[in-house]
């Protein structure tokens, strides 16, 4: 039996909870892949895409899930969440890079690691809290 989990949007139906879990896992996976692509010693062809995703979307998407209560049925809410995700990502990049510059510890690799950490911290608790399908059937 699927169990609804309380979230920013109030209580979620079983389908919504599963979708939220999948989104969380996808965000974590994408962050891991992007970080790996960026930090590998050789410059990768996908570096531009990975860099763009990590600086301009992933951290914000993770934070927006926690901070922005939306009604999935409202198109305007979906648009707002997407725009807020971009704004928060760029904002996180500003904060991470600026913090390192003021501490005189700046390097783009450290900034990337900080962005990945923010995404993980924002996503992991929600993913761990949710009931995974195999746990549910057990």
């Amino acid at each position: 039996m699927s169990q609804a989990q309380p979230s920013a949007a109030g209580s979620l139906s079983g389908g919504d909870a599963e979708r939220a879990l999948l989104t969380g896992v996808a965000l974590l996976g994408a962050t891991a892949v992007c970080t790996a692509v960026l930090l590998l010693p050789d410059r990768q062809p996908l570096q531009a895409v990975a860099g763009l995703a990590l600086t301009a979307y992933l951290p914000g998407a993770a934070l927006a899930r926690r901070l922005l209560p939306t009604e999935p049925s409202r198109a305007s809410d979906q648009l707002l969440r997407a725009v807020v995700a971009v704004g928060l990502s760029l904002g996180t990049t500003v904060a991470a890079s600026l913090g390192l510059l003021y501490m005189e510890q700046w390097s783009w690799q450290r900034t990337v690691l900080l962005l990945a950490a923010v995404t993980a911290v924002a996503t992991l608790p929600d993913v761990l809290r949710r009931r995974w399908p195999w746990r549910r059937s057990a």
Binding site: A8, G10, L38, R43, Q47, A48, A50, G51, L52, L54, T55, A56, R66, L67, L68, P69, A75, S76, D77, L79, L80, A82, V83, V84, V86, G87, L88, L90, G91, T93, V94, A95, A96, S97, L98, L101, Y102, E104, Q105, W106, S107, W108, T111, V112
Partner: protein, 593 residues
């Protein structure tokens, strides 16, 4: 769109006249532009406007209008873009922030982000800067759509607002810059406020004061009933102030965190936009549309903290409200002193004023129409008007009027969209009348859009650079040594993209601003500037863009520049180092006796 791109690619900067890019774009560009405008309005009057087609057309308009200069020369426009690239280059190499260098280092958020972005992605920031007007406008339109969808559920109205904004945004603040980034945050923050922090029903400041007074009275008289009730026993307190369910409180708290976080990023990135945000948020509180009346105070505290700590090095000697209340100085810097130059340039300047006035007029008509139809757009009007309070505060280097126009444009576009729609909507309009109404709207948008292209690219003769202009600056850097003072003829010069703090950068335009100065007087000032430099050596560059800017803007007499050049080329302490068809580079050495 393909016709527009093809026409733009055919352009040559050498052919551009004083009236700017618009007159040189060619017939095929304008045919393509008309087709985009016509197709949009043909699509929007259908019973179910196709979102995908409208999105594609909007993308086409963005690329055609905001990418025209990039297709033409493949070199980023404007001096400031190059300077911003230099600041990022400096941060990457220094790995720290020295707030004493200049104002940019007091608000370095945008530069810090793009230092990481450029290095992480491996994408050349020159390419990012080249296409910045297109991607900035694309992001703004997304932010605008998110914002407007909080003001109306009507999809047609949302699309029309987006279209009008994209068509009439001549203001040219969408280049690679902190203000473009801050404007995106401005749109997002206001969208979040209208979604999560909206007072429903509205509670004005006056109402809040009355409630506070009533509460105080109740505290003084505890035996009395704690809540006033009407005859039916219901509470008379407005819903927004009365106890809220936990879910609503939690949403509001999250909204507050979100707004404060985004505002903090904005405050770290740009000097002016946070003040515009403060006014906008204050206006929403004043008209009772904000459920968080203390938010302006929170923003003010973050702003003050930034000004006192990281930005304090710059603020010593540069007060925030330097011209506060001096309306004459503000008017002079924003209007009078800007309206000068060749006849074609004056035409472009008038065109800018006409487009702005026309959009404001359309907005007024739209407001009236919506009011009569029963819509009370109090939030929208408050947000459209609030930025104008900035005008008497600061001249902002003569750019305040431009910025205020930009901050109010989203809301003016929203109201103007109502003026372009039939009073009772497209669906109710008789089938036979629809094409007529659509043709009128197309015509109006077409005229305003074309005028905006003219207004936007009016400085193209000197703010679009040729390969020769870039080569001239490259030659300047090849000859420069640390401690040299570098002097260009005027703004714009595509320099400071490297060696940001290794030199002092000046222009003849700034040095010899006094109109009574002769060539000899101007040379004396140049001589003095070089004498004060650590190396006692100065390089003076005069290139094509400089000469065009001096001639068109009438800020400095071309004779004075010619006199200084003659003195530099023939004097005992100066010499002509390099010259090309597009530039002359002089060296001036000054002894320290």
């Amino acid at each position: 769109m393909i016709m527009c791109i093809h026409a733009a690619r055919e352009l040559s900067v050498a052919r551009i006249g004083d009236a700017g890019l618009a007159t040189e774009l060619g017939r095929s560009y304008w045919v393509g532009f008309c087709m985009i405008q016509y197709t949009f309005f043909a699509a929007i009057i259908t019973r179910r406007p196709p979102s995908l087609l409208l999105a594609l057309l909007t993308a086409g308009l963005l690329i055609s209008v905001y990418g025209a200069a990039s297709f033409a020369v493949q070199i980023p426009r404007g001096e400031v873009t190059w300077r911003h690239l230099g600041i990022i280059d400096h941060l990457i190499h220094a790995g720290s922030i020295d707030a004493t260098i200049d104002a940019y280092f007091g608000w370095p958020g945008f530069f810090a982000a793009f230092a990481a972005f450029g290095e992480a992605t491996g994408i050349s920031l020159i390419h990012v800067a080249l296409w910045a007007p297109v991607w900035n406008n694309a992001l703004w339109l997304l932010g605008l759509a998110a914002l407007v969808s909080q003001l109306t559920p009507n999809r047609r109205h949302i699309w029309l607002t987006v279209w009008i904004f994209a068509s009439v945004n001549w203001i040219d603040q969408d280049y690679f810059s902190p203000q473009a980034f801050a404007f995106l945050l401005y749109l997002i923050i206001l969208a979040v406020m209208l979604r999560l922090l909206r007072a429903d029903p509205p509670v004005t400041v006056l109402h809040r004061l009355r409630l506070a007074r009533a509460r105080m009275r109740r505290q003084d008289a505890p035996a009395e009933a704690t809540t006033r009730t009407d005859a039916s026993g219901r509470s008379k307190e407005p819903a927004a102030v009365a106890a809220k369910p936990d879910a609503s409180r939690s949403a509001r708290a999250r909204g507050l965190i979100l707004v404060a976080a985004l505002a903090a990023v904005m405050i770290a990135s740009h000097q002016l936009t946070p003040f515009a945000l403060l006014l906008a948020v204050g206006a929403l509180v004043l008209v009772g549309r904000s459920a968080t009346p203390r938010l302006p105070l929170v923003l003010l505290l973050i702003l003050a903290a930034w000004l006192i700590l990281p930005a304090s090095a710059y603020l010593d000697g540069h007060p925030v409200a330097a011209n506060a209340g001096d309306l004459a100085a503000v008017a002079d810097k924003n209007l009078t002193s800007r309206i000068s130059g060749s006849p074609e340039r004056l035409l472009v300047l008038r065109l800018r004023m006409i487009v702005t006035a026309a959009v404001w007029l359309l907005a007024a008509v739209g407001l009236l129409r919506r009011w009569r139809a029963g819509h009370r757009d109090v939030s929208c009007v408050a947000l459209a008007v609030a930025p104008f309070v900035l005008l008497p505060m600061q001249s902002y280097g003569g750019e305040m009027l431009l910025r205020v126009t930009l901050y109010s444009l989203p809301f003016m576009a929203f109201l103007a969209a109502a003026a372009l729609s039939p009073p009772h909507g497209w669906d109710i309009l008789h089938r036979a009348h629809r094409p007529i109404a659509a043709a009128l709207a197309t015509g109006l948008c077409l005229v305003l859009g074309a005028a905006s292209v003219g207004a936007r690219y009016g400085n193209a003769r000197f703010d679009m650079f040729t390969r020769g202009d870039i080569a001239a600056v490259q030659a300047l850097y090849d000859q420069a040594r640390p401690g040299d003072v570098l002097i260009a003829g005027s703004h714009p010069t595509p320099w400071r993209y490297r060696d940001y703090d290794a030199h002092r950068y000046l222009t003849l335009q700034d040095l010899c601003r006094d109109p009574t100065l002769t060539a000899q007087g101007c040379f004396h000032l140049v001589h003095e500037a070089v004498r004060r430099s650590p190396s006692g050596r100065g390089l003076v560059l005069v290139n094509r863009a400089n000469r065009e800017a001096i001639r068109m803007q009438s800020m400095l007499s071309p004779d004075v520049v010619a006199g200084v050049e003659a003195r530099l080329g023939t004097g005992p302490d100066g010499r002509l180092m390099l010259q090309d068809a597009d530039f002359q580079l002089y060296e001036l050495r000054v002894g320290r006796s």
